[in-house]
Symmetry: C2
Subunit: 457 residues, 2 copies
Amino acid sequence: MPVPDKKGLKIVDVNVKDVRFPTSLGGHGSDAVHTDPDYSCAYVTITTENGKQGYGMTFTCGRGTEIIVFTIRSMKRFVLGKNAAEIFSDFAGFWRAITNDTQMRWIGPEKGVAHLAVAAIINSLWDLWSRLENKPLWRLLADMEPEDLVSTIDFRYITDVITPEEAIQLLKNKRSGKDERIKLLLDQGYPSYTTQVGWLGYSDELLKELCDKYLKLGFNHFKVKVGRNFDDDYRRCSAVRKYIGEDKVLMVDANQAWTVSEAIEWMKKLAPLRPVWIEEPTSPDDILGHAEISKALAPYGIGVATGEMCANRVMFKQFLQSGGMQYCQIDSARIGGVNEILSVYFMAEKLKVKVCPHAGGVGLCEMVQHLQFWDFASVSGTMEDRLIEYVDQQHEHFYDPCIVENARYFAPKAPGYSTHFLPETLEKYTYPNGTEWQRMIKEGLFPQPDETELLNA
Amino acid sequence: MPVPDKKGLKIVDVNVKDVRFPTSLGGHGSDAVHTDPDYSCAYVTITTENGKQGYGMTFTCGRGTEIIVFTIRSMKRFVLGKNAAEIFSDFAGFWRAITNDTQMRWIGPEKGVAHLAVAAIINSLWDLWSRLENKPLWRLLADMEPEDLVSTIDFRYITDVITPEEAIQLLKNKRSGKDERIKLLLDQGYPSYTTQVGWLGYSDELLKELCDKYLKLGFNHFKVKVGRNFDDDYRRCSAVRKYIGEDKVLMVDANQAWTVSEAIEWMKKLAPLRPVWIEEPTSPDDILGHAEISKALAPYGIGVATGEMCANRVMFKQFLQSGGMQYCQIDSARIGGVNEILSVYFMAEKLKVKVCPHAGGVGLCEMVQHLQFWDFASVSGTMEDRLIEYVDQQHEHFYDPCIVENARYFAPKAPGYSTHFLPETLEKYTYPNGTEWQRMIKEGLFPQPDETELLNA
């Protein structure tokens, strides 16, 4: 595995910050289950002996970010003092060590808090590697030899669907035409859809205004939140269908609001409005439930989309095996970081399920574009019926924000994984001591922080 | 719902301690995946205005306990200042609030660290309630009216298998004979099995010694660890089969060591030794994998047992629905505490799967006996092919340790959920400042605690 020279790459510092944005004040981002989110992240900076840095994150929703931050601090022991080049040369081994430490795995394994903390650390390492190679992450991935890329993945528990040899073969199958596809990405970008036209409770006027706005911006795909009240859902979906016209694509998202039978009944009644998918109809853990919903809705032309809260590759494997997922919504900040996400792309390709990544939040659009660009260049080789979610929030905080024009993500060009925060963002939004948080707490817009929220400060 | 009078029951303190026992020094408790466990727990004490206390815990494995402790501290906000009687009067509502807070659920939902922390808090509340009623937990549960007991459960996402009305009916079906079954429990206790004869790497001499010991103690059921090396497994299982004789029952436990196909092949080769179950053959998240293994091994008379790392009721539901689990090993310290575990018992009863609880660790034997006693009294009404795991470690630390004689658990009689630690245990084993830990760290038996391990001290 060709990795950077190890000289100077000993990791001498792992810093983690609790960064929160007061998005609950605007009511944006609310859905049937998450009614007052403050989009947040646990933000990791690793520094090597020679002063190189990598930046990584996992997305969170306000309260509880302090738990991820604390967990990352507890996991420093796996990284500090290690040489980054040695980590890269046996990345799957390192990944196994940090996700399956014999004492730590009891509190997971490979799910929830522990796995989110792993994701932030792993993402910071890939960012570092990309910077050392002076490439955006998607180019680093696309340029790696198939054997080298596949060697970064831990295939434990998924070889019944895909083996390392098969993954290597999938990459080799797509060697032909790769350069042309990379050129296409650089020239024309990758299509996206918008989630910003139909949050719960929006009035007809606002819906019209937003549909007009996003139509003018060139969008052809529009996602509407559903699941709290059928009449309100029907009203908003009908309005959006009317405003976007019959030739555009509508998707709906229930954010886990329903039981299996509720999902089926509710969606049958929305079917005349021709949504192409129902996203997160029920519990993100209910593989068999999703399979049942998929089967019931297939005759109506409605697919099931899920994945943003899918815990790990073993859960993804089963959603893909069981027919419970027609659109695979990998999330760049969940599961155990880039290495594990790559394995999900390979399983989806093998089982012929389309990957349409989840984004929004903080840094998710920035990260996930790299993964989907790599998929087009090296794995699926197609954009057919594939889209990246787009929400235009929180991009202004990054050195290298994603660029979406005419409803297409344009290729990230700067080295890294695009999640390096600007210094003024950290100064303002680090919780609870950032200047904006101090102001908002003082003005009574937010409560005083709890004991544990103060502990990481 | 008849609950204690609310006077004086405002919760004024929630204390949480990191308690660890140096079990790695003896090498006991090691398995194919967890090679150096220090049996530990996050230990919660809640105190009401009138000085009543409830004690609850979740089991952990050494490192990482500090993460659970920190998470419980972060979750204090859900409990502190609430009135315990009001919590009990809408226990399902309280449970939904603490497991599905709109900002916190992103870091779960209902799994891993966050759910383990919930379990410790919820268990402390049930302990308090039992103490207020002056009953051991199993009697509190057995004495509750069906409607009242079922009202404590959140049925979200499981109504496709069981509804509240069906659960009430299951309890009513077993009203007849309940008094006789309670008398039987009080007179004769509940059968158990031992896990202590066959840890990995034990020599033939030690195996013989241990089999003799546990045969003399009256055990008829013996569990052996497998999964790291087939030849060693075959040697130890053959030896145990020889020493216990053909009429006794052998079970084996792989602690998630295998892929699906490895599990099937390995177990076919162990089949001549007649193990009645293979426990945790593969990833605890692989429902479809367990179903495939179950199907392949059924002709050999081998069932699949799992559950100790099953994340929540939605995962249990699918293991039960899919035929992936012939023995349901609920764990008293995992999933979201008593309320959620009750729902698993109801699903298992409905789908006719035997519950054989996981125990061992710290406090697990103490807690789980209550649940299984209740099951016999009120739900399944039978002990046929049902057993509680037993490991004789760490019982001496409790005021009300479980009592196992002639391989039977005897009925807990003291009020509560049996997990109240003796003061000297806390003085010695609270990590890292307990006197025993200070001594062991000073003597170099254990490393200095990390930054995060110190933070909770």
